[in-house]
C-alpha cells in the first residue's frame, strides 16, 4: 500500500464554488480510500458535476483544499490533473470529432495495447482506429472514452453518468470493469442516478445536497433508503398540493385542440397518438430518450415528422418552422433557458419578442400597449424584474418565468411545456403549477412533459406514458402516483409487483437528460476554460 498515514487516496475538504449569484458548491467534502469504488450522489444541481470538474482542474474552486495521497495540491488544468493521476470521463465524450481514434489516443498520450485490452473488456472489438470520432455512434464513443481513461491507469478515475445512453450489454461490461478495480490501489468515483448500479459496484457513497456534503454511507443492502433520504433532505414528499384542480373540461363535444396520430420520427419516435383537449393539462411521462424530445420538437415546429398526422382544431397541420406552430396556437416552453432567452436583453424585450416576429409587425411598436401587456404578464407570473436590464442577471426561476410570460402575454391556446421546472426552486415550481392549472381552467390546452413524477399528480388531468417511442399507457391524474407512473415508464405490467431494484430507482426515473445536470449547475458551469471563446460565434 502506498497510501499515507491517513490512508486516503483523495481528500477534498470544504470545497466551494460560486458562479455569480449561483452557489454551485457550498462546502463539499469527499474522501476516497484506495481500492474503493466510491459513489457520488445527489439530486439535480446538488453540485456533483461541479465537484468533478474541480477535481480534474477544469474549474477552479473559490475555497477548499484537495489532497492526493496526503499531499495537498492545486490542479490548474485537466492536463495537469491527468498527469497527476486524476482523470474524468464526462457524459459528453471528450474525443475530438475531427481526429481519428488513433490521433485521439496520441493526443492524450494513451498507450495502445492497454487501450485495446480495455476496449475488448468493455465489449467493443474490431474498432477501426483510423475512423473519425465524428463518424462513430455515441455509445461507442463513450466506451472508447472510458477505455482511453482506463488505459492510462489513473489513481482516481471519475465516471460521470457513464452508463447513461448505453445499451444493457455494454452497461454490464462497464460495471464489470468498474468492479474489477475494487481492492486494488486505485479508486473510482462513480456518479450515477441508478441506485441499482451503485448497489452492485460501490463500496461507499458520498451524498451531496445543495452544494454540501450531507453524509457518507456504506453501501450495503438496504442503504438505498438512507441515500435517498439524504439526497432529498426535508423536501421529500412535502410538496403542497396545488389547490383547486377541477375535473377536466374534456367533454366529447369539443374538438380536440391537438390530435396526434401515428407520429414517428427517426429511430426514437415510433408511433405516438393522443388527443389534447381544451381545458386540460395532459402529462407526458417517459424515461430519458424515449422519443419525447422529438415529439415536442415536431409539435413546436422545429422538426418535421417522418410519418404520422397532426390535427390542430380538427384540421391537418404541417409545420415547417416554429412560426407556423405559433400561428396555429402551439407555443413551446423549453427546459433549457439558454435556448429560449436573449440573455443580454431586457425582460421586456424577451417577453415582447414573439409580438414582432411577423413581417407586418416590423414597423413602429406601440410602446404603451406593449408596456401594459408585458407588465400584466410580469405581475401575473410574479417575476422579480429588478435586475431586468439583462435577463442573464435574473435567477433561474425568474428566467424560466420570463420564458413562460412571453407566451402568456400574448394569450395562450396551447402550451407545450418540456420539463419547465427543471433546476428551479420549489417556490417557483409551485407558481408554475398554479399557472398551468389557471391556464387550463381558462380554456387553454397544456401538454406537460416532466421528469419529476410528483408533478403529474399535482398538475395533470391525465398522463400518457411513452416507452420506446410509443404510447404504452394512459393514466388518469388521480391515479398517477409515482409508483404507478414508474412502473408504466419502465413498461412493467401494473399488476406485477414492482421489483425491488426498480423501486430503488425512483431517482433514475427523474432521469433528466444528460444536459440537464449541467444546466442545473448554474450559468457558466460548463464554461470551464477561461481561455475559451466560442470559436463559432466569434466569426
Amino acid at each position: 500500500m502506498t497510501a499515507t498515514a491517513t490512508g486516503l487516496l483523495l481528500e477534498a475538504t470544504d470545497v466551494s464554488k460560486i458562479y455569480g449569484a449561483v452557489v454551485a458548491l457550498k462546502a463539499a467534502s469527499l474522501a476516497v480510500r484506495p481500492g474503493e469504488v466510491h459513489a457520488l450522489m445527489g439530486a439535480n444541481g446538488a453540485g456533483k458535476s461541479t465537484l468533478v470538474k474541480i477535481l480534474t482542474g477544469a474549474v477552479h474552486p473559490d475555497s477548499g483544499r484537495i489532497a492526493v495521497r496526503g499531499r495537498e495540491r492545486t490542479v490548474h488544468s485537466p492536463g495537469e490533473a491527468r498527469r497527476g493521476g486524476l482523470v474524468s470521463v464526462y457524459q459528453e465524450p471528450s474525443l475530438i470529432p475531427d481526429l481519428d481514434i488513433r490521433a485521439n489516443l496520441r493526443l492524450t498520450d494513451t498507450p495502445l495495447e492497454p487501450f485495446r485490452h480495455w476496449l475488448t473488456q468493455l465489449g467493443i472489438e474490431n474498432l477501426d482506429l483510423s475512423s473519425m470520432a465524428r463518424r462513430l455512434p455515441l455509445a461507442t464513443l463513450r466506451i472508447v472514452d472510458l477505455a482511453r481513461a482506463l488505459a492510462i491507469e489513473p489513481d482516481v478515475l471519475m465516471l460521470d453518468e457513464m452508463t447513461a445512453a448505453l445499451p444493457a450489454n455494454l452497461t454490464q461490461r462497464v460495471l464489470e470493469a468498474v468492479a474489477s478495480h475494487r481492492g486494488g490501489d486505485r479508486s473510482i468515483i462513480f456518479i450515477s442516478h441508478r441506485l441499482i448500479e451503485i448497489a452492485s459496484v460501490c463500496d461507499r457513497a458520498t451524498v451531496l445536497r445543495e452544494g454540501e456534503t450531507v453524509g457518507v454511507v456504506d453501501v450495503t443492502p438496504g442503504s438505498e433508503e438512507r441515500i435517498i433520504e439524504l439526497m432529498l433532505g426535508q423536501i421529500a414528499g412535502e410538496m403542497p398540493a396545488v389547490a383547486g384542480r377541477t375535473a377536466a373540461h374534456r367533454a366529447s363535444v369539443t374538438t380536440p385542440r391537438i390530435s396526434v396520430r401515428g407520429l414517428a420520427s427517426g429511430t426514437k419516435l415510433q408511433d405516438v397518438s393522443f388527443e389534447l383537449h381544451p381545458g386540460e393539462v395532459l402529462g407526458v411521462v417517459a424515461l430519458e430518450g424515449q422519443g419525447q424530445d422529438e415529439l415536442f420538437d415536431i409539435l413546436a415546429g422545429s422538426q418535421r415528422p417522418s410519418s404520422g398526422e397532426l390535427l390542430v382544431d380538427g384540421s391537418a397541420a404541417s409545420f415547417r418552422h416554429p412560426a407556423d406552430a405559433i400561428r396555429a396556437g402551439l407555443v413551446y416552453v423549453a427546459a433549457d433557458r439558454a435556448e429560449a432567452l436573449l440573455m443580454q436583453r431586457s425582460v421586456r424585450e424577451n417577453i415582447a419578442l414573439p409580438f414582432t416576429t411577423r413581417v407586418r409587425r416590423w414597423g413602429l411598436i406601440d410602446l404603451r400597449a406593449e408596456r401594459e401587456t408585458v407588465d400584466a404578464a410580469v405581475s401575473r407570473l410574479q417575476i422579480d424584474a429588478r435586475a431586468g436590464n439583462e435577463v442573464r442577471r435574473l435567477s433561474g426561476g425568474n428566467q424560466q418565468k420570463v420564458t413562460i410570460a412571453r407566451w402568456v402575454a400574448g394569450g395562450v391556446r396551447t402550451m407545450l411545456c418540456f420539463d419547465p421546472t427543471r433546476g428551479i426552486d420549489i417556490r417557483t415550481k409551485q407558481q408554475i403549477y398554479l399557472l398551468l392549472r389557471d391556464l387550463a381552467e381558462a380554456g387553454a390546452a397544456v401538454l406537460l412533459y416532466t421528469s419529476e413524477l410528483k408533478e403529474v399528480q399535482l398538475v395533470c388531468d391525465r398522463a400518457i406514458v411513452i416507452f420506446g417511442g410509443r404510447v404504452v399507457e394512459e393514466i388518469s391524474g388521480t391515479d398517477a402516483d409515482e409508483a404507478t407512473l414508474l412502473r408504466a415508464a419502465y413498461h412493467l405490467r401494473s399488476d406485477a409487483a414492482m421489483p425491488e431494484a426498480v423501486a430503488a430507482e425512483t431517482v433514475a426515473a427523474e432521469t433528466v437528460a444528460p444536459r440537464a445536470s449541467d444546466a442545473a449547475n448554474g450559468p457558466g458551469a460548463e464554461a470551464a476554460p477561461p481561455e475559451q471563446a466560442d470559436p463559432e460565434t466569434s466569426r
Binding site: H321, A334, E339, L342, Q344, L353
Partner: protein, 329 residues
C-alpha cells in the same frame, strides 16, 4: 481598516463598469472631449466652429459606413462589401453624369445596383447560411470586378463627380455646418428610431443575441437578414456618394481605406461583433473619435503610419475593455 473608503472605491469601480456596460456612450463622449482638449493643447486655437465643421464633415461618411457594420454586427454578422459597394456607387454616378437622366439617373442606378448586391448577399447569408464575412467578401470581389469592367466600358464617355454631389458632400453652411448633415441627420434618426422603436430593430438584436431563441419565438431569420443586407448596401452606397462628393474623385477603390476604420468605429462605439449588443449612437461617437484622433495625430506631426498603429492599438484596448466589463456575471 477604513472599510468605508474601500467600499467607496469598489463602488466607483463598479459604477464605471456599469456605465461602460450599459451606457457606453457616456464614457465615449468623455473620451471625445478629452481628445478635443488634447488637440487644443497641442495646437492652441485650432478648435473653432470651422474646425468642428471639418471634423463633422469627415465623420459623416465614416459614421454611415460604421452604421452598416453596427447593424450587421448586431445580428452577429459583418459587412465587408461596403467598400466595394460604396466605391461602385460613387463611380457609377460619376460615369452617368452625362446620361439623359443626369445625376438623378446616376444615383438611382447606383442605389439600385447596391440594393441588388445587398439582396444577393442577404440571400446568401439568410437562406444559404454562408458566413457573412465570406459572403460579403465574395460579394465585394464581384462588385469590384464588375465596377472595373464598367470602368473600361465607360471611360470613353467622359465622367466627373456631379456638382450636386460635390455640393452636398463637401460644402458647408457659413463655413461651419456641412451640408452632408442633410443626408446624415434624417438617416440617423431613422436608424435610431428603427433600432429602438420598431419590431424589426428588436429582431436584429434578438437574432444576434440568441438565434435559437429567436427562431423558437417565431422569427424567420432569413427575412430579417435579407432586408438587413439590402439596408446595409444602400447605406454603403450613400456613404460612397458622399465620399465621392467630398473628395471630388470617383474611383473603384475610393472607399477601400474607410472599410477598416468603419469596423473600428463600430467596435469602439460599443457594438459587440458577437451580436445582440450595441447601437448606432455609440457608433457615431466612435466615428467622431477616430476622426478627431486622426486630426490630433496630424497636428502632432505623426502622419499616416503612426495613425494606423494608434488606431489598431485603440481598437484592441477598447474591445478588451468592453469584453471585460460585459463578460462578468
Amino acid at each position: 481598516m477604513n472599510a468605508s473608503a474601500r467600499a467607496n472605491k469598489w463602488l466607483t469601480a463598479v459604477t464605471w463598469r456599469r456605465l461602460l456596460r450599459d451606457r457606453p456612450i457616456v464614457p465615449l463622449m468623455g473620451l471625445l472631449a478629452i481628445l478635443v482638449l488634447v488637440i487644443e493643447l497641442a495646437d492652441p486655437g485650432i478648435v473653432s466652429p470651422e474646425w468642428t465643421g471639418v471634423i463633422v464633415r469627415a465623420s459623416v461618411p465614416l459614421a454611415i459606413l460604421a452604421g452598416c457594420q453596427t447593424l450587421t454586427m448586431l445580428t452577429g454578422g459583418i459587412d465587408l462589401s461596403v467598400a466595394a459597394i460604396g466605391s461602385m456607387a460613387g463611380f457609377v454616378t460619376a460615369t452617368l453624369v452625362h446620361s439623359p437622366g443626369g445625376v438623378a439617373e446616376g444615383i438611382i442606378v447606383a442605389l439600385a445596383a447596391a440594393a441588388l448586391a445587398g439582396l444577393l448577399t442577404g440571400i446568401g447569408v439568410g437562406v444559404f447560411r454562408v458566413h457573412p464575412l465570406i459572403m460579403t467578401l465574395g460579394m465585394s470581389f464581384v462588385v469590384l470586378g464588375l465596377s472595373n469592367v464598367w470602368q473600361l466600358q465607360m471611360v470613353q464617355t467622359g465622367a466627373g463627380v456631379p456638382d450636386s454631389l460635390r455640393w452636398i458632400g463637401s460644402s458647408t453652411l457659413a463655413q461651419v455646418v456641412p451640408y452632408n448633415l442633410l443626408v446624415f441627420i434624417p438617416l440617423t434618426l431613422l436608424i435610431l428610431l428603427g433600432l429602438r422603436r420598431t419590431g424589426y430593430g428588436r429582431l436584429l438584436y434578438a437574432i444576434g443575441d440568441n438565434p435559437v431563441a429567436a427562431r423558437l419565438s417565431g422569427t424567420r431569420a432569413w427575412q430579417v437578414l435579407i432586408v438587413l443586407y439590402v439596408i446595409s448596401a444602400v447605406m454603403a452606397a450613400i456613404a460612397g456618394l458622399l465620399i465621392s462628393g467630398l473628395t471630388n474623385t470617383a474611383s473603384v477603390s475610393l472607399v477601400d481605406t474607410s472599410l477598416l476604420p468603419a469596423v473600428a468605429a463600430a467596435v469602439i462605439g460599443g457594438t459587440s461583433i458577437l451580436g445582440g449588443r450595441g447601437g448606432f449612437g455609440g457608433t457615431i461617437v466612435g466615428a467622431l473619435i477616430l476622426t478627431v484622433l486622426t486630426a490630433l495625430l496630424t497636428v502632432l506631426g505623426l502622419p499616416e503610419p503612426t495613425r494606423q498603429v494608434v488606431f489598431g492599438s485603440i481598437i484592441v484596448v477598447v474591445a478588451a475593455a468592453y469584453t471585460r466589463v460585459t463578460s462578468e456575471s
